[in-house]
């Protein structure tokens, strides 16, 4: 159990390729932090620096109060789960899990107790005698996790542990990791490119892109108040819709002009914008697919769209729409309240109308790509 502190940590490869720029983060004891971002954003590199598998080019890394920049991985009191499991193929599951304890010259009975306990937690007791080859992907991943928990490490690192599993198993294992976290109760750093994993697992999410931290916050914060276009687009599925619009200042208030409609902002939004001294300007308006209301008949301030694609997801529909000036908009529409006639109307080429309240709107500056209120 320990905190992890990264101060101005930087990773530069040969030929001056910078993988991670000035990474600053304080991870509290027993916190579950998720690094999320597209591939090549530096999230795995950062994790590997914490593990000691990559040298730190610059900056300070502390585990607990100890600076560990030059400490060997084995002396950092960490455990890591790899994407490809990295089980030792030539020894049994039991020996895989006991490996680190044996290296530590731990008492035989204690080893046995710990391995059995971990196996019990993960439900792999019956496979202890098998070789990794004889296990399925999900079972292998359990063994990999078991190998980490027998050590009772100060920090638990996971590098895309679910990426090699099929969709169903991934959901199941995700839930199990949440349970596991309750039982193990230590500091977790988890790397993924999957925003769903990030949202469901993390106490805090670190969104990364091109070696820079974009935003750090709780899943709710990152979802509700994305600081820039990238975070807004990356978190949430389907992706947030981005529309060209205009922000108009008139007196003390602001309103957004979009496709011939004008939507006045809320008082707190007005206040925030005024405090930042924002003037009338072009903006990119972000609206999440789940925050739009779909109307079958026109209404004041509704935006007229044409249906391009209707994706049936079961409990809801994903409608891909295009506005009059060809903006692409995706909306989510729960199916439960739809009448037969309404369903029939939701087909290619038909007209629909959408509205959304001011409070769900995210306003981004087109050049800096920053959120005008939170950025």
């Amino acid at each position: 159990m320990a905190s992890v502190t990264l101060e101005h940590v930087k990773k530069v490869y040969d030929k001056n390729v910078v993988a991670v720029h000035d990474f600053n983060l304080q991870i509290k004891d027993k916190e579950f932090v998720v690094f999320v971002g597209p591939s090549g954003c530096g999230k795995s590199t950062t994790l590997r620096m914490v593990a000691g598998l990559e040298d730190i080019s610059d900056g300070i890394l502390k585990i607990g109060d100890r600076v560990v920049n030059d400490v060997e991985p084995k002396d950092r009191d960490i455990a890591m789960v790899f994407q490809n499991y990295a089980l030792y193929p030539h020894i049994s599951v039991y020996e895989n899990m006991a490996f680190s304890l044996r290296l530590r010259k731990m008492d035989k009975e204690e080893i046995h107790r710990r391995v059995c306990q971990a196996a019990e937690i993960l439900g792999i007791t019956e496979y202890l005698g098998r070789k990794p080859k004889a296990l399925s992907g999900g079972q292998r991943q359990r063994v990999a996790i078991g190998r980490a928990i027998v050590r009772d490490p100060a920090v638990f690192l996971m590098d895309e542990p679910l990426s090699n599993l099929d969709a169903k198993l991934r959901n199941q294992m995700r839930a199990e990791i949440i349970l596991l976290r309750k039982r193990v109760d230590t500091t977790f750093i988890y790397v993924t490119h999957d925003q769903t994993e990030a949202m469901t697992l993390g106490d805090r999410i670190v969104v990364m892109k091109d070696g820079y931290i974009q935003q750090v916050g709780t899943p709710q914060e990152v979802f509700d108040t994305p600081v820039n276009l990238f975070v807004a687009g990356f978190i949430g599925s389907p992706q947030m819709n981005f529309l060209k619009a205009k922000l108009i200042q008139s007196g003390n208030g602001y309103s957004v002009e979009l496709l011939g409609t004008t939507i006045p902002l809320n008082p707190d939004q007005n206040q925030a914008l005024a405090a930042k001294g924002v003037k009338t300007q072009e903006i990119i308006l972000g609206v999440r697919p789940e925050h739009t209301t779909v109307l079958f008949d026109n209404k004041e301030n509704a935006i007229e769209c044409t249906i391009n694609v209707n994706e049936m997801m079961g409990s809801e529909l994903h409608l891909h729409l295009s506005s009059q000036n060809k903006d692409k908009i995706i909306v989510r529409l729960p199916t439960v309240d739809l009448s037969k006639e309404q369903r029939a109307q939701l087909s290619y080429g038909n007209k629909m109308y959408i509205t959304f309240p001011a409070k769900v709107m995210h306003l981004f500056d087109p050049t800096s790509e920053k959120n005008l209120i939170y950025g």
Binding site: Q83, N84, P89, F99, L103
Partner: protein
Amino acid sequence: MSEKKQIPEVDIVVDHEAGVIREVKPEHLRSKSGHEKRINGSIYAVLILISIIWLAPFVFLVFQSFRSYATESGAMVAYLLPKQWSLDNYVWLLTDPSSKFLRWYGNTLIVAIFCAVLQTFMVLSVSYTLSRLRFRGRKLIMNVVLVLGMFPGFLTMITLYFLLKQLGLTQSGAVPGMILIYVASSGMGYYISKGFFDTIPKSLDESARIDGATRLQVFRMIIMPLAKPIVIYTVLMAFMAPWGDYVFASYIAFGSEPNYNVAVGLYQWVNVADYQGFFTRFCAGGVLVAMPITALFLALQKYYVEGVTGGAVKG
């Protein structure tokens, strides 16, 4: 009731051009056409011919070695099958006081065993290092070594001889001298085993290091057990090269009979010694030399093939 699985005796084939469905005998039931048979036949004929040419000298050698030294001459003769079979030649090689065969055999064995151990250690260390560690000049070293390896070793013969002479490792010191020469540059043969190590996922090393192993422990406890085929391949190669070497051995031990290896010694018999008298003994010696290598190969060929083809280990 046991039901026999029916293998269909016809395949259904849709002939789109004619617009009909045809029943065709499946591949394994179709009788081979005459054309196919002829091609197969000629391939086998060529292969048989090649193996006869290839095996003939060895068969000849074995026959000659069993010819009776007492009743027939020890020289070359114009017939293949011995008139009288006997173990005369072998007995003489192994027991006669004037035969230095055992001494030579011993020399060779010592050199080969030392080489097998030391060279394997060198090759595996070098190739593991080149496969796993990243350091400045790694690529350069690999390329330079690769290019150097294309020059025949004999180019260095004269230099090496004088170097060894300075160290007192020629003639009477020939055995340690030979070991030194074979082992010294053996790391250059890293190529195949590096390729093999490259197929073992790096995350295994990393995982073990996080689990608390030192680099050496990773190598010993994780990599070595997985690299069994390549270890065996390397041992075999390291054993065989000095076992059959003539050129280096002949000049390092030049003129010092007790320090010959078996190849040089046997050659001296048919060359300088009594050629006519020693031919069958030479053959018997050849058979004895071939035996351990053949046995090793037969026992380990499964691993050998795995080692050469590499990539047989899945992570």
